[in-house]
């Protein structure tokens, strides 16, 4: 349940979603931030802000709280109306902006119009894990999205998410029809309700409670009962597309320059709050925690019971829908080299989106935090500062799941996108020179979809196995062949081999009547084909890892799992020539959603 009413007040004007942000803000006189104590700091409805509440002890800084111990005096104020937030920021009521990175990007031109109010991104709080694209059954994978109608809130966090999804599918905004709605959730005009009522709408962007209402759950398919929409399911969620929505704090440049120590304290205090909230959450989930319950109650008090009706489901769920990045995440985000989800990459995509969609006329850059993360303000004060990143996935669990999905026919339903590369017979080396474009795509998507897995599925051509099977049948006399070279005819029990007697032939294959022919073993050929297919997949995986290393790009190897499909899924079961056979010789990349159990637990995602 993310951003419940976050953007309900944004872009109040009806009509085209892509409007100039400056126009929405209207004329504003840039003022100086006059008051440092108490310092006004905006918050929004999001689990990441619960760590702010915790650090502050409430809306005002409480004695004994983390911020209090840092000497801060903060007054937290609601900021769900982002346009008003920007006005306050420029007028000097608050030096801070609170939003998603892409929202900040949309406002970049407005805030960058004056050197004093240019934005310094000082803190990454979280990644979203609770926003979802729900589709009808006519969309099985992203490949089916072209030409479809999608409904989402205008100007909200899902704009950037949709932009990421379109890029994943190598689609443009013009390839889909977008219906914009003012509200995010909870009204008849919200995307979930429009999707429910209008069967012509193929997909919608929703938050967790709406997603559950439409499909029944992240891995479920709506049955039509209990308010769900028959056939509705989550195609893509930030549970997998985990590096799409980054929640951040931005500080005015003039205030930042004049108050570096205060900014240090605010960032360090927030990160300390994250550490303690994470530990409390673990305690709560293991054996209960009165202190955690107190935080949930504080959250409910701040947001109100209409937004957070229950503590255990709604307040706890709000926190579960986000993933903290902590100290390591901030260091990686602002200073990491080769990261595809770092500040530079995010700024570029946010500004591109802002300009391309008309929110900004020109690209106006933001500043990275510039904080000294090795200073005593952080090191020694924080406890979770380990930068070594563990592998995200458990290899055996992932392999097991992919193999089960392959065997059970459920792989398509879990596939976000797939694409293939082809090669030559018995080829098992794959140069990045030849396949560099595909490898780059894999590396980028693996990074963006940090909680999804790339199954690299090797396939081999079945012609040799089929030929061996026929030869074995001939040798054992199960089938007969007549005619001359180039013009053969096959028969079974005195009749031409045809569809009519296929069942009987299949029975004999299953009963082992084609086995045991001297010198011909189709099963061994088939096994060799299976091994070859995995060998191909493994070689491709190794090449991708090498490619990423050579390019200086980070890649979590555990996200890429090679598997072999052997001859099970040929494009053409009986190729007529080598060209057709080569269509079967392929490696398929499938970005798939896996069960949470396949992932290793970690405090932070970075």
């Amino acid at each position: 349940m993310t951003l419940v009413f976050l953007f309900s007040g944004i872009f109040p004007l009806a009509g085209k979603a892509e409007e100039s942000f400056s126009k929405m803000v209207g004329p504003v006189k840039v003022g100086t931030v006059k008051q440092n104590s108490p310092l006004e700091v905006p918050f929004i409805t999001w689990g990441g802000d619960m760590a702010t509440f915790y650090a502050n002890g409430g809306l005002t800084t409480q004695s004994g709280s983390i911020f209090s111990k840092k000497g801060l005096n903060i007054n937290l104020v609601p900021g769900d109306d982002f346009v008003q937030q920007v006005r306050n920021y420029m007028e000097g009521k608050s030096p801070f902006l609170r939003g998603t990175f892409r929202m900040i990007g949309m406002a970049s031109e407005a805030i960058g119009s004056n050197p004093r109010t240019k934005g310094v991104v000082i803190l990454q709080m979280t990644w979203s894990a609770g926003d979802h694209m729900v589709v009808r059954k006519n969309i099985r994978t992203l490949d089916d999205l072209k030409g479809k109608t999608v409904v989402l809130q205008k100007g909200g966090p899902h704009v950037g998410m949709l932009d990421d999804i379109l890029k994943t599918g190598q689609l443009k905004w013009e390839d889909i029809k977008v219906i914009w709605k003012d509200d995010l959730t909870g009204t008849p005009n919200s995307p979930a309700e429009i999707f429910r009522k209008d069967k012509n709408i193929d997909a919608c962007f929703v938050i967790s409670p709406d997603m559950i209402g439409l499909s029944g759950g992240l891995q479920s398919i709506g049955s039509g009962a209990e308010g769900t929409v028959k056939g509705a399911r989550v195609l893509i969620s930030t549970a997998e597309l985990s590096r799409s929505i980054a929640d951040v704090y931005v500080c005015r440049k003039d205030f930042y320059d004049a108050n570096r120590k205060l900014v240090d304290k605010f960032v360090a205090g927030y990160l300390k709050g994250c550490e303690e909230v994470i530990d409390l959450k673990k305690q709560y989930e293991a054996k209960g925690s009165a202190k955690y319950m107190k935080l949930l109650k504080l959250t409910q008090d701040i947001y109100g019971k209409d937004v957070i009706p229950t503590l255990e489901e709604d307040a706890h769920g709000l926190l579960c829908d986000c993933t903290f990045v902590g100290y390591p995440g901030n260091v990686a985000f602002f200073t990491g080299k080769g990261s595809l989800h770092g500040f530079d990459a995010f700024q570029e995509s946010a500004l591109n989106l802002a300009v391309d969609r008309g929110y900004a006329g020109v690209r106006t850059g933001l500043f990275p935090s510039g904080l000294d993360y090795s200073s005593p303000a952080f090191i020694g004060y924080l406890t979770k500062t380990e930068m070594t990143k563990a592998e995200r996935f458990k290899a055996e669990a992932v392999l097991e799941e992919i193999e089960l999905l392959s065997a059970g026919g459920g792989l398509d339903d879990r596939t976000i996108i797939s694409f293939t590369i082809n090669f030559e017979p018995n080829q098992n080396t794959f140069s990045s020179l030849q396949y560099g474009a595909e490898y780059q795509r894999v590396v980028e998507m693996a990074d963006k979809y940090g909680n999804a897995v790339f199954a690299i599925r090797g396939h081999s051509d079945p012609t040799k196995t089929l030929l061996n099977l026929v030869q074995a049948g001939l040798k054992k006399g199960v089938i007969k062949r007549s005619g001359t070279r180039g013009n053969y005819h096959y028969s079974f029990q005195g009749k031409p081999l045809s569809l009519a007697n296929t069942t009987a032939v299949v029975d004999l294959v299953e009963d082992g009547q084609f086995d045991g022919a001297s010198g011909i073993n189709p099963r061994q050929t088939m096994q060799a084909a299976l091994n070859l297919s995995r060998k191909r997949a493994g070689a491709v995986r190794d090449s991708i890892i090498n490619y990423a290393q050579n390019k200086g790009l980070t890649l979590d190897k555990s996200q890429i799992q090679p598997v072999g499909a052997g001859i099970r899924e040929p494009f053409i079961a009986k190729p007529k020539n080598m060209e057709e056979a080569k269509q079967n010789m392929r490696v398929e990349f499938r970005l798939i959603r896996v069960e949470a159990e396949a992932a290793s637990n970690a405090d932070f995602d970075f």
């Binding site: 392999l399 073993n521 995995r534 080598m578």
Partner: protein, 301 residues
């Protein structure tokens, strides 16, 4: 006498040759291991000397296996299963796993020939272990059962029953006869049956198994593979491949053998499903009629 000594060395050579053709590990992971389970006959008849020599069959078998281990790739997983030994309590003298040459050599030297010849039962035991390993390796790798024996099994019915099933499950069976009659049952049923004095046949065993047709489209004989298959209907070809692709990893001798319901292909399952639905519908109507009759009887009262 000289011929028989050659026979012993040839036995070793055969074993070595067969096992040295195991494919390269596919990508160096634990799922790609090649696996060989050796079933060694230590029945009473193995006490006897090879005909025309002073060497006991058991000793000849041990020499052969030791020779094999010099040739087998070091990363091949080996298991040694011995039956009827007079001096061992455990039949898995060397459980299937990574090879440790010192331990393996010692294990091979241990068995002393003893009792009966329950070959069928031990084929099952060795194969079941391979199938369990295949399940663990998700089907990748290779799986061979190497039987080293001197004669007819006393549970021939089990041999006759199990061997086709083992072959149908895609496990390769190699048999090396130690001074064994050429009319042995296994000779006609397994993938390779080698006599030690037939070295020419060994070359066939070393041929690499190619998974796909070559770029020319030719098979081994040089004939175009595609034209050979042209007259096979596409749907029939697909169904045959599908049938071949299905092989479970359940223990043999149960319901998962060739032709058993659990091993049927999708092609067959579809017909099975419709039969199942038909039966349910029929039962439903019978129950419905029964309810109506009972209701009418009650209503009359």
């Amino acid at each position: 006498m000289r011929r028989k000594i050659i026979l012993i060395f040839n036995t070793a050579l055969i074993l070595a040759t067969l096992l040295s053709v195991l494919p390269d590990k596919t990508s160096g992971s634990e799922y790609d291991c090649n696996n060989v389970v050796i079933v060694l006959d230590a029945s009473g008849s193995m006490k006897n000397k090879m005909r025309g020599t002073s060497m006991k069959k058991m000793d000849a078998a041990k020499v052969a296996i030791q020779e094999v281990l010099k040739q087998v790739p070091v990363d091949t997983h080996i298991g040694l299963l011995v039956f009827s030994s007079s001096n061992l309590n455990e039949d898995w003298v060397y459980p299937l796993g990574p090879r440790d040459d010192a331990k393996l050599s010692k294990a091979i030297s241990l068995p002393q020939a003893g009792g009966r010849t329950p070959l069928g039962a031990y084929i099952k035991k060795g194969v079941d272990r391979l199938l369990a390993e295949r399940a663990r390796q998700h089907g990748y790798g290779s799986y061979r059962l190497l039987i080293v024996t001197d004669g007819e099994a006393q549970d021939r019915d089990l041999v006759d029953r199990y061997v086709p099933e083992v072959v149908g499950r895609g496990i390769t069976i190699d048999v090396v006869g130690v001074d064994m009659k050429t009319t042995h049952t296994l000779a006609t049923m397994v993938h390779s049956y080698r006599r030690a004095d037939d070295p020419a046949s060994l070359k066939k065993a070393v041929a690499e198994v190619f998974a796909e047709v070559a770029d020319t489209g030719s098979d081994i004989a040089g004939e175009d593979a595609f034209s050979q298959l042209a007259a096979i209907p596409d749907e029939t070809a697909a169904a045959m491949l599908s049938a071949l692709s299905i092989s479970g990893n359940d223990p043999i001798g149960g319901k998962a053998g060739p032709g058993s319901p659990s091993k049927k292909t999708t092609f067959r399952k579809q017909s099975g499903k419709s039969k199942g639905i038909g039966t349910i519908v029929l039962l439903f109507f019978i129950m419905l009629i029964a309810v109506i009759i009972i209701w009418k009887v009650i209503a009359k009262r």
